[in-house]
């Protein structure tokens, strides 16, 4: 309605004032210049910086994760090798233990054998010495007894020992005869 009235009054709103065009165009171009020169680079820089910061952070996190994975891997390997080592050591210990036991047994048996032998030797030696001392003692006793009985001096050592030897030989012969019988 007012549109029509305006048209009647001759002020056509579609006819521009040339200065309006000029001022608006100049204003727009000044703003375009400022935006191109300062605003856009500033915001682009902010975006770029932030992008880099975020990407840097991501890369860092990724690296940390990779490191952690590597550490875990290494740890696992170490654990595995430790387990193997332990098993090996156990194995060795068992083998060593076995060999020690075997050695100890052997040594013990050797020792036992030696002790037995020694004992036998001692026994033999003691028997021999006992025999020897018994022989002399028996000889002396017999000689003294015989001398007392016979009244004959048997002081002569040579003779007396001969008599004793003969007696003992008889004794031996008797003993052997008894043993064979």
């Amino acid at each position: 309605m007012s549109f029509l009235m305006a048209a009647e009054e001759g002020a056509n709103p579609l006819i521009p004032n040339i200065w309006e065009i000029a001022i608006t165009a100049i204003g727009f171009l000044i703003l375009l210049f400022i935006v191109t020169k300062y605003v856009v680079p500033a915001f682009e820089k902010i975006y770029q910086d932030r992008k880099e910061a975020i990407e840097g952070g991501l890369a860092k996190a990724e690296k940390a994760q990779a490191e952690a994975a590597a550490a875990r891997e290494e740890y696992g390997q170490q654990l595995e090798s430790a387990r193997l080592e332990a098993q090996k050591i156990r194995e060795e210990a068992r083998a060593e233990g076995d060999s020690i036991i075997a050695e100890a047994k052997e040594r013990a048996s050797v020792e036992a054998a030696r002790i037995t032998e020694n004992a036998q030797k001692t026994i033999a030696a003691e028997r021999a010495s006992a025999q020897a001392s018994l022989r002399t003692e028996v000889g002396t006793l017999a000689t003294a007894l015989a001398g007392k009985i016979v009244g004959e001096s048997l002081a002569d050592d040579q003779r007396s020992s001969r008599v004793v030897d003969r007696f003992l030989a008889d004794l031996d012969a008797q003993q052997q005869a008894g043993a064979t019988r």
Partner: protein, 267 residues
């Protein structure tokens, strides 16, 4: 509702005079010959300061973690850059046009929003010269880019001869396409912006002046009708606020679409 108001006003026989276009054009602040520097031109200049000032202030720290102001600035810049530039022109070619799209959107937005700021209340694009100026810049840019990228022949071929049409149809199609793309397109680009701002401004003026008239001059029972026109005025204010934003976006969106046509290969 407006007709109701007018009927009531007419019934009073005191003669309600609706505001006219002449009321929209304020007297100049100063004049040099034919150059009349008025409020509208002052506002255009002020908008340059506002847009440049705000975004330079917002970006001054270049902080990694943005302050509230920087965040708003980044959001505005991101919208012009990504949703208007990257998504419409295409990721490979949008970069050089970001400043133009950004400037167009925020320049128009501020100039439109003047219409909703108390005491200023003058959308500068309701002066047709301003809308022409922007459309001319847009036209020169997208035609220039098209000719430079594709060469004169290919550019006009793309503009006037859509592919996939039987050759006979071209007889009709070439003049139509030429008219539509080369002549009507820039005209509508300017007039769409102008007309929405002009119409909205006028509608609010009518509602406001009617309310004022009904209260101050009609009086009595007719003053009750002022509630209707007042509510209408408030509704129009918010509608206009929305349109001011949408038209800034639409103008820039169309500029981006035209530029996309100029940089893309064929249709």
């Amino acid at each position: 509702m407006i007709s109701n108001g007018l009927v009531v006003a007419a019934g009073e026989q005191q003669g309600y005079q609706a505001p006219t276009i002449d009321d929209m054009h304020l007297p100049a602040i100063f004049e040099i010959g034919s150059f009349a520097f008025g409020k509208q031109m002052l506002l255009v200049m002020l908008s340059v300061v506002i847009v440049a000032g705000f975004f330079m202030y917002a970006a001054r720290k270049r902080a990694m973690v943005p302050s509230r102001t920087q965040f708003i600035g980044e959001m505005g810049y991101g919208m012009a850059r990504n949703s208007l530039g990257k998504e419409i022109i295409g990721a490979h070619a949008y970069k050089p046009f970001v400043p133009l799209l950004f400037t167009a959107f925020f320049f128009i937005l501020v100039n439109n929003l003047y219409g909703s700021i108390p005491l200023i209340q003058l959308p500068t694009m309701s002066y047709v010269g301003s809308a022409y100026a922007l459309a001319i810049i847009a036209y020169v840019t997208w035609v220039g880019v098209g000719i430079k990228r594709k060469g004169l022949g290919t550019f006009f071929k793309d503009m006037t001869m859509p592919s996939g049409v039987p050759p006979v149809i071209y007889v009709i199609l070439i003049p139509i396409e030429f008219m539509s793309n080369m002549l009507i397109r820039p005209a509508t680009h300017a007039l769409r912006l102008f007309a929405t701002m002009f119409g909205g401004h006028l509608a609010i003026m009518v509602a406001a002046s009617l309310t004022q008239y009904l209260i101050m001059e009609a009086g009595g029972f007719a003053a009750l009708a002022s509630v209707g026109s007042g509510v209408l005025g408030i509704f129009l204010f918010f509608l206009e606020l929305m349109i001011q934003c949408i038209q800034a976006y639409v103008f820039t969106l169309l500029l981006a679409v035209y530029l996309q046509g100029s940089v893309s290969e064929g249709h």
